[in-house]
Amino acid sequence: MAYFDAASAEPITAAARTALLEALDDGWADPSRLHLEGRRARLMLDQARERVAGVLRCRADEIAFTSSGTQAVHLAVLGAAHLRSRRGPGHIVVSAVEHSSVLNAAAFAEQAGNTVTIAGVGADARVDVAGFTEAIRRDKTVLACLQSANHEVGTLQPVEEVAQECKAAGVPLLVDAAASAGREALPAGWSLLTASAHKWGGPPGVGVLAIRKAVRWRSPLPADGREAYRVPGFPNLPAIVSAAVALEAFEAGRDHAGVELRSLTSQIRDQLQQLVPDCVVHGDRALSLPHIVTFSCLYIDGEALVIELAKAGFSVSSGSACASDSQQPSHVLAAMGAITHGNVRVSLPRGTAHQDITAFIDVLPGIVSRLRGDGHTAARRSAAARAPASAADLPGPGTTTGGEQ
């Protein structure tokens, strides 16, 4: 069995597990209390904050812990939009390939009266710097949002170039670093940054919201004193301690793991295109996260492909509509103009064995070929079932939007 879905959750590291168990024994008390147990918990929380700040290269008091990466993003976006609401509606710029938490938070802010511009990407999922920065309006834009790297295809975004433009315009930049934290050097120039511990081998249920000192931001939620009034609710201290240990360890092993994982994903990249006809590998080979390779096999149902790979012992994810809860195709693939069906994301956890990659490459062409046979049979059956209907019975086109994509 081989787990190839590290971009959804990296397996918890041994160090993080040990830290979690120890912190359950020592860190259960309320860190805001002045008694012995509370002060011990406070100390652990402060140390965790220092460790995370060290990796993110910011001040400890700029770090707040949340219950997930998604919560961190929601607070970041709505805290910036909310602040503006007193001065009339604001404007938010997001890239088309942001994580759904960013797009959904922006849509939420839009319902509250803000306007949102979605900046497009190229076929490699990279935002066009000129297009992104042209969308920024000096007096109106309250927040620009650009991920450090794309979570589905691994493409690194030109954050530092965009950050310079944002700085010049006086607009805060939110960098969702969930896909890359602990894996790549974080770009400089962010105003707010979000990340999630289960992506770096920490436990689930810990997110990070970092807000630079000079950035204007106010919680959009009812007042609560936790995390310096940024995140409401009693913090999950054992998980936070474990997350901080995991991040330091993950960051320390970054360069070594990056070289190893990139060699494995490159092998998949090269061989797939030789061994599987009509297979498209997405994203950029060099300007991408080392552990992710995403591809689409034409004429195949993505859900069936994920299930067949699981039966063969490989755990992968898919951006195809049939494999999603919403039955919508991946907005990332659609924004790239890429094929959305037959899609597979392989994201390798650290320590993936070379033989697992070889086994994956051995098994995939046969599965694809078998599923293509099934697909052609199903298509012929569907076509035959509706053959008697005459063309005149079919609905015609209505309003024309020629050239729309």
Binding site: Y299, G375, P395, G396, P397, G402, G403
Partner: protein, 88 residues
């Protein structure tokens, strides 16, 4: 307004593929199997209501070097008419 009036396909579609109610990849398989039935330069109309088809028909055209002419929202039912010109 018809697509012809909007100037999208150069002439009426030579073939209509009804993929309404069918999920991807079936509409794309049907398109790939049947585009050879029209002459080079002629247009195939694909009717589909799976959102994936709306993204995948243009993407398939890009990969296979056929021309994606445009799309139109269907009037009576949810879905789209997607126009593809056979290039070779």
């Amino acid at each position: 307004m018809t697509p012809q009036q909007a100037g999208t396909p150069g002439h009426a579609p030579a073939l209509r593929i009804d993929a309404l109610g069918l999920k991807c990849p079936i509409p794309i398989i049907m398109l790939a199997e049947r585009i050879g039935e029209v002459s080079v330069g002629h247009v195939v109309e694909v009717l589909a209501d799976d959102p994936a088809a709306k993204a995948d028909v243009p993407a398939w055209c890009g990969l296979k070097s056929h021309e994606f002419v445009g799309s139109a929202q269907l009037a009576d039912v949810p879905g789209w008419a997607l126009y593809v010109r056979r290039s070779y």
